[in-house]
Amino acid sequence: MQTLDSSLDKLASSINQLEKKRTILGDSISEIKDKLHFPFKDSDILEENFVSEIEPHSLKKIRVSAVDGGVVQSRYHGASLVVGRAAAVVFDFKGGELVETEYYPDSFPSPTPISFLNPISSREFLAGTSIERSKLEISTAFKAIEKYKPDVMLLDGSIIPHGMTRPEKSSEVYESYKELIEMYIKLYDTARKNNTLLAGVVEDSSGLRLTHLLKEKVVPGIIESNEFSKKINTALESSKDILDKTNDSNTMYHILDTGERSCVFTFSKDPKKHRILHDLDDWAESVNSFYLKSVEFDRPVRIDFLNRGRTKETADKIASVVYALSRHNETYGCPSILIEADARAKLSEKDMDIVYQRLKDKVGDVPSLFKLRREFRPF
C-alpha cells in the first residue's frame, strides 16, 4: 500500500507540474487570443483569426443527420466473427425544437455478420474489423444523404478513415480497404451533389496538429513580434516546452471559452504524403479541421469537415449547428443527434451471442465454431 501511495504521489506531482505549465501557457494565449491574427495565407492555418465566437444555430428550420456504427467481435477456434451495424438518424428542427425524427435504414437496423474464415493475425483482424465497420457507416451515410438530403451530416469520428485502418498492400484486407476508400469518395460526392455539409465530430481526439502549429508557428510568432507585454512573452517562453507533451484537446481546453472555435487548419501538412489522405485523390486537400468548445466543463471537440471553398462560412455554420446540439449538458459537450445514433447502432455481447447461436443452428456444432478455451472455463 505504501509503495502504491508513494508512486501515486510521484505521478500526481508530475501531472500537477505539467498542468501548471499548461495553465500558464493557456492563460497567456487566452489573454491575447482576440489579437492573434494571421494576415498571410498560410498552408496550414486557413483563417485570419486564431479564435472565432460562434452563435448557436437557431434551429428554426434545419434538417440534421448523423451516423454511427456499432460492432462486436469474437474469435473462435477456426473463425473470427464480427457483427456490426450502422444507423443514420435524421432530426428535423422547427422553431428551435426537435419536431420529427427518422431513421435509416431502421430504428434498429439488423446486425450484419462479417466473418474471417481463414486463420488471421490479430493485427489483420483488428484492421479488418475497423474497415468493415467503417464501410457500414459510410455506406449508410451516403444513402441517408441521398434519401433525406439533410443540411448537415455528422459522422461519429473523422470524415476520413482512421490511420490504424490502413493495411499493407500485401494484407488480406487490403482489397476491402480499397472498397472503403471508394465509399468515402462516394460520400464526399454525394454530400456535394446534395449540398449537404459533411463533418465528423471527434469526441476524444488525440490529435497533435494544432499544438504542433502553436509550437512551430504561433508561439514563436508571438514572442518575436514584440507586440505583447513582457509578462506574456516570459510566460510563453517558460512554458512553451509543454506543447511537446500536450495534445490539441488539452491545449485548447485552456484557450477556448464556451462558444468559441479555433481557426480552421489543414488536416495534414502535406496531404499528398499523408498515409490516408493521399488515397482520397482530389479530396485530400479539402479535409480541414477546427476545435469547438460547446460547454463549460467539458473538453473541446475536434471537427473535421469537407471544405468546399468558403472556409469561414462553412466552419461557422457547422460549428453553430454542433454548438446548438451540444450545449444542453454543461458537463458533456456532444451533439444530441450523435448520442441518439450511438444508441441505435450500439451492439452488445448478447447480440453477438444471438448471431453465433443462429449460425450454429445452420452449420451445426463444428470445430471451427468451438469457443476458445479461455472463454469457456468449466468453473
Binding site: L98, H328, N329, Y332
Partner: protein
C-alpha cells in the same frame, strides 16, 4: 371476434414462470391497464392471467443527474432528444389458470409461457367462463377494463352467505340497493327469495315509497313494506323462559332457575285457557311466589320492569313474523326511530330467531336476511348481554345454508365483526377500506387477497368493489352498475341538509311572525 393483440412475452430475471411473466406492450397505441385479464396460448393450454402491474421505461430518463443537467437551461428533454421513440411499456402478469381442452375445470398453471408468445386481451366468453359468471345471475356491474357484466349465480352468492365491507361513503348502501333490485326483479320461474332488511338508519325505506311522477326510477313500493321499529311488539307468550332470561341478562343460576319456573307456571295457565299474558303478569307471578327468597324476588321484579320499560313487549306479536317474509318481496325493519341499543338488539334477536325457526319448519319461504351495521349486532369480543342477536345470527351463519336461510352482513368495521360470522360468509364484496386494522383483518379472513390487492382496495374509488369467494372463481374488481330504484332521502349531502334545515326554520319563523 378479432382478438386484440396486446404484446409479446419477454424473458427477464424472474420469468417467465408459472407464477409470473412480463410482456412488452405493442407500440401501436395499445393501452394495458392494471387489473386487466389477458390470455395466451401455452404448451399446457389457454392460459389466463391478470395484469398485476404496468411499468414504463425510457433510456433517456434512467440517469437523474443527466436529465437534470439537460433540462437545467429550460429546454425539455423532448425538444433535444427523440424521447418518445424510446418509451416502452411492460405489463406484469400473474397467471391464474389454464384451460385444458377436454378438462372440465381450470387448472393451476404449472409451466411457464414461452418468451415470444403473443399476449391478448382475454375474450369475453373465456373471461365469463373463468370467473364463473352466470348469464342469468344477479347483475351487479361490470368488470373494470372489460366489456363483461358481472352476473353472480344466486345460489353461489346467497346460499353460503355474503358480506359487504367498506368504509363510510364507499357505496355499501348503493351496492346493497342494487342487490335488492336484482332480487326483487326476479320472476317466479327464476326462483325468488324473500328479503328481510334490518335497517338501522332507515336508509332503505325509499324502496317502499312510490316513485314521484315523471321520475325515471323504478317503483318497488308494491313489493316492499316498512315495519317501524317503534311499533314492533314481541308477544311475551312466544318467549321461552330461557329467552326471557337471556334478554334480561346477568342472572345468576338460582335466579334463572326460579324465573324459568315461574314462566313455566304461567305458560301452563295460558295453555289451560287462561288467556294471554305479558311481563307484568310475570312480575305478579314472581310476587306471589312463597318459595322464592325476597332478595331474588326483588331483583327479578326490577329486571322484568326494566325490560317492560323498553316498550317492546306485549301479549301478542306485532307484526306476525310469519307475514314478514314473502317470495320476491322485502320487509324493512326500520330501527331508525329507536335510540336504545338494547331495544334494537331485542327486536332483531327475536325476529331473526323466529324467522330461522319458521324456516326450519318450512313455514316461511327461503329468505335473505340483510343486516346493516352488522358489527352492532354481531360484534367480536363483546358480552352476549350487549349483543343479544349475535347468537342467532351466528347460528344462521353456521347452519342457515341447509335450510336456505341466507345472510348478508354489511359493515364498515370488519375488525369489529364476529370472526365466526365473517368466516362463514363465503363471499365478500369489499369496497374502499383504508383503516389498516380492517385491511389486515380482511386479508386474514378473505381468501385470495394478496398484498397488491390490499393496496388496490385502499384506493378504490366510490362505487367499485372487489368480489372474492364462492360467488366467483377468482377475485374480480367490479364497477357497480347504476341503480334503478330511487335514492334514499338520507343519502343527501351535508350542504343540502344544512340548506334544507335553515329553509325549514326560516319558514317556521315566518309563519310564526305572520300568525302574531
Amino acid at each position: 371476434m378479432l382478438k386484440l393483440d396486446l404484446g409479446t412475452v419477454i424473458s427477464s430475471v424472474e420469468g417467465p414462470s408459472p407464477t409470473n411473466f412480463s410482456f412488452v406492450v405493442k407500440e401501436n397505441g395499445t393501452s394495458v391497464k392494471r387489473g386487466q385479464f389477458v390470455e395466451l396460448d401455452t404448451a399446457e393450454g389457454l392460459l389466463i392471467g391478470r395484469v398485476s402491474d404496468v411499468r414504463k421505461a425510457n433510456r433517456y430518463f434512467e440517469r437523474e443527474e443527466s436529465v437534470r443537467e439537460y433540462e437545467k437551461k429550460g429546454s425539455s428533454m423532448e425538444s433535444i432528444f427523440p424521447v418518445d421513440k424510446w418509451e416502452f411499456t411492460v405489463g406484469v402478469v400473474k397467471p391464474l389458470g389454464v384451460y385444458v381442452e377436454g378438462k372440465k375445470m381450470m387448472l393451476k398453471p404449472s409451466f411457464p409461457p414461452s418468451p415470444g408468445s403473443k399476449v391478448r386481451l382475454a375474450s369475453d366468453d373465456f373471461l365469463k367462463q373463468f370467473l364463473g359468471i352466470d348469464n342469468e345471475g344477479l347483475y351487479l356491474g361490470s368488470i373494470e377494463h372489460h366489456d363483461v357484466d358481472v352476473k353472480l349465480n344466486l345460489t353461489n352468492l346467497l346460499q353460503k352467505h355474503f358480506a359487504i365491507l367498506a368504509m363510510s361513503g364507499a357505496g355499501k348502501s348503493y351496492l346493497t340497493s342494487v342487490v335488492i333490485e336484482e332480487l326483487l326483479d326476479r320472476n317466479k320461474e327464476q326462483g325468488r327469495v324473500g328479503i328481510v332488511m334490518i335497517d338501522v338508519h332507515g336508509e332503505y325505506t325509499n324502496f317502499a315509497e312510490p316513485v314521484k311522477a315523471g321520475s325515471d326510477k323504478k317503483d318497488y313500493s308494491k313489493l316492499c313494506k316498512v315495519l317501524n321499529g317503534s311499533n314492533i311488539k314481541i308477544g311475551v307468550p312466544n318467549l321461552s323462559g330461557g329467552q326471557i332470561c337471556r334478554l334480561i341478562g346477568g342472572l345468576s343460576s338460582v335466579q334463572t332457575r326460579d324465573l324459568k319456573n315461574k314462566i313455566r307456571q304461567i305458560q301452563k295457565k295460558f295453555r289451560k285457557g287462561g288467556g294471554t299474558y305479558n311481563l307484568i303478569d310475570i312480575v305478579k307471578e314472581v310476587e306471589r311466589s312463597d318459595k322464592m327468597k325476597s332478595s331474588t324476588k326483588d331483583a327479578l321484579k326490577n329486571w322484568i320492569f326494566s325490560l317492560n320499560a323498553t316498550g317492546v313487549f306485549s301479549d301478542v306479536d306485532y307484526p306476525s313474523v310469519k307475514t314478514i317474509v314473502k317470495p320476491g318481496k322485502m320487509s324493512i325493519i326500520d330501527l331508525s326511530s329507536i335510540i336504545s341499543n338494547k331495544k334494537k338488539q331485542i327486536i332483531t334477536s327475536y325476529i331473526v330467531n323466529e324467522l330461522f325457526k319458521m324456516r326450519r319448519n318450512g313455514d316461511i319461504p327461503p329468505f335473505l336476511l340483510i343486516v346493516e351495521e352488522a358489527h352492532q349486532f354481531v360484534p367480536e369480543g363483546v358480552s352476549s348481554d350487549y349483543a343479544l342477536a349475535r347468537s342467532i345470527i351466528e347460528t344462521i351463519a353456521r347452519e342457515g345454508r341447509k335450510f336456505h336461510a341466507s345472510l348478508c352482513l354489511i359493515s364498515q368495521r370488519p375488525k369489529r365483526l364476529s370472526t365466526t360470522v365473517l368466516s362463514q360468509c363465503n363471499t365478500h364484496v369489499i369496497m374502499r377500506i383504508t383503516n389498516p386494522y380492517d385491511l389486515d383483518h380482511i386479508k386474514a379472513s378473505s381468501e385470495g387477497i394478496t398484498s397488491d390487492t390490499l393496496d388496490a382496495i385502499s384506493s378504490l374509488p366510490v362505487g367499485e368493489g372487489l368480489i372474492v369467494g364462492e360467488a366467483v372463481n377468482y377475485p374480480v374488481f367490479v364497477k357497480i352498475r347504476e341503480r334503478n330504484s330511487q335514492s334514499s332521502a338520507k343519502s343527501k349531502g351535508l350542504e343540502d341538509a344544512a340548506i334544507e334545515f335553515e329553509s325549514k326554520n326560516d319558514k317556521k319563523n315566518e309563519d310564526a311572525e305572520s300568525f302574531m
